[in-house]
Amino acid sequence: MEGTAKFSFRHLELLPNVYESNDSARLTLAFFVVESLAILGESLEKASEYCDYVYKCQLPYINGGGFRGSLFMGKQEYDNDEIPPYDPSNLTMTYTAILLLALLRDDFSRLDVKGIIRSIEDRQKPDGSFAPIPSGSESDIRLVYCASAISSLLGDFSGIDIPQTIAYIKRCRTYDGSYSQTPNGEGQGGTTYCALASLELLSSQIPSEQLISHKESDETLRWLSQRQIHGFQGRTNKDCDSCYSFWCRGAFESLKKLSNLPDDLEIFSDELDGDFLLSCSGKLGGIAKYPNEYPDVLHNCLGLSALSMAKSRSSSATTLKSINSTINIEITALEWLKSRINQL
């Protein structure tokens, strides 16, 4: 795991040029790096300076609220009382910004909660889905998850039309028991995680028996159990990919809570999954999508998250810190966040 820490520290200092094509999602890339270090139990210098950077990406309520992915438009503040049309906040970035601040142990006194709630409300579409930005983009279940996660972290669901949201999630349910990105599509591990984690988070507002039936839960459990091949595949008859070890495990954990399945229920082989994830490790550290590929920050982070969830059975992972898979964050950071948000 030493190489993996070095991989993450290296990327924290400077992301290689290949990440240029993810420029507008930089806070999310930063989250993957900082979360990886937290799972590895590493501590950061400059945490408070990093918090300052994250807050520079925040827009106040009058500019629509929420966080941008970076300062790629070159402006920190806007004078006018409007949402800057070419520099709005992004719902995914708002979600990862809050997680970053928790990992960096910020006190959250600068967090514009009212603005964030406004930025969630602004992004909900008539069909119940959410878009990342106010106009000119896709809207789907990934953003439903971001909206649900942020609302849960802030303890304020007033930015979400809950019945509409739940109806949308249900329309994404497929014939094989998984959930797709948009209604009527093909079921996939990542979108199934988004759907089930959202339902789990929304179950604090709506009784869970209205969210998924007993029979549906059986079908989803069956679909999830089919996904393990060695590591996990994202869809039926596809190859294993390290990130699906996390998405499928996370989906299973949420399903357990939603359907009142026994806490200690296991359906996966942790040993095999652990072997697969380690076979994805690069020579210079870091976890890749597949064996013999270059590692990247997303797969490194989600691979470590999955290893952490498998640690009771996988000897290579025993030193990893625990995570909360529903929010996808190291557990002490989540506790920190909750205690601070409660004091706001």
């Binding site: 993810n22 070159g74 930005i133 896709e138 599509g185 079921g187 679909w223 359906i267």
Partner: protein, 307 residues
């Protein structure tokens, strides 16, 4: 040539990205990207909607196809200058192929297409060819887009177009019977768009004939469960039960001695559904044959015991 050095942009002063003293995970930008973004910031700052700004957005998109702000600005230029969407769509043909996995490329393509009814059929043709051109007939974005076309233009499609869609599905299943995206798409056309041209019995026959060719193919077995469910029927379907038993017996007698697990699972789940005590035995058989899922089969056998 860099934008900062170009004569046709010299009236604008590039704006740098100010990252402050401790940027978090900064990206090692190429000189070309940084130069183009510096000029893009200047263009947006001047709110300039022009042909040269359009060219600039294309250059950036080719380096970062996920840059939603650049796409959004490009759209606003096209709208404001009233530019030809056909030309834009032609460019999209190239960019959709090049940046197949970019959400923004496909979203932009929708904007180009949604106001032209006569594009439906040519779009379906483009997407069909794209599956082959990119050698990626499971690409998620391409399927989402195809289903959007079929939904959005459903009312103006003809019977011929619908027949073509089923021929297209058939040819992809022939290419790769394990392609789950095609199975999912067949379900979408039959039951979501409601292009039902067949009876449930016929559809079951069709699926069973394909399962005979690939007895452990989870895509077809899952599809079979799906079509029963959508017709409010349980698993205890006489024909499928018999088919599964025949398959298990034939395979058990064959060289590899390993019965197809999905057939065994069908019998087990059907028994559990009917609270038939034989379910437990079936699940324990599965547990022995499928060690990777031994925990799952244990759980199912536990459920069967307490049923």
């Amino acid at each position: 040539m860099l934008y900062a050095e170009r004569d046709d942009f010299k009236d604008l002063t590039p704006i740098e990205q100010d990252e402050g003293p401790s940027p978090l995970a900064p990206i090692n930008y190429s000189q070309k990207y940084k130069d183009a973004m510096d000029m893009f910031r200047a263009v947006v700052n001047a709110n300039e909607k022009s042909e040269r700004a359009l060219g600039l957005t294309e250059d950036i998109i080719r380096m970062n196809a996920g840059h939603y702000t650049v796409w959004h600005y490009r759209t606003s230029i096209i709208v404001e200058l009233g530019l030809d969407l056909q030309a834009e769509l032609k460019l999209m043909d190239e960019l959709s192929t090049e940046y197949l996995k970019s959400y923004q490329v496909w979203h932009h393509r929708r904007l180009c297409v949604e106001s032209s009814r006569d594009l439906a059929v040519s779009e379906l043709k483009f997407v069909a060819e794209l599956f082959y051109a990119t050698d990626d007939p499971k690409n998620y974005h391409t399927w989402v887009y195809r289903q959007w076309i079929l939904t959005y233009f459903d009312k103006i499609l003809h019977d011929d177009d619908r027949r073509h869609e089923f021929e297209f599905i058939e040819s992809l299943i022939t290419d790769d019977i394990y392609n789950n995206s095609v199975w999912s798409h067949r379900f979408f056309c039959l039951f979501k768009l409601g292009w039902l041209e067949t009876t449930l019995d016929n559809e079951i026959d069709y699926v069973l004939s394909l399962i005979s060719k690939a007895p452990s193919n989870m895509s077809s077995w899952n599809y079979l469960r799906g079509i029963l469910k959508v017709n409010d029927q349980g698993l205890n379907n006489q024909r499928i039960m018999q088919f599964s038993e025949t398959l298990i017996n034939a395979k058990s007698a064959s060289d590899d001695m390993r019965p197809p697990l999905p057939a065994l699972e069908w019998l087990a789940d059907a028994a559990l559904e009917d609270k038939n005590p034989i379910a437990t035995k079936r699940y324990l058989e599965l547990k022995a044959l499928d060690p990777i899922r031994k925990n799952y089969w244990s759980w199912k056998s536990h459920l069967a015991l307490s049923a």
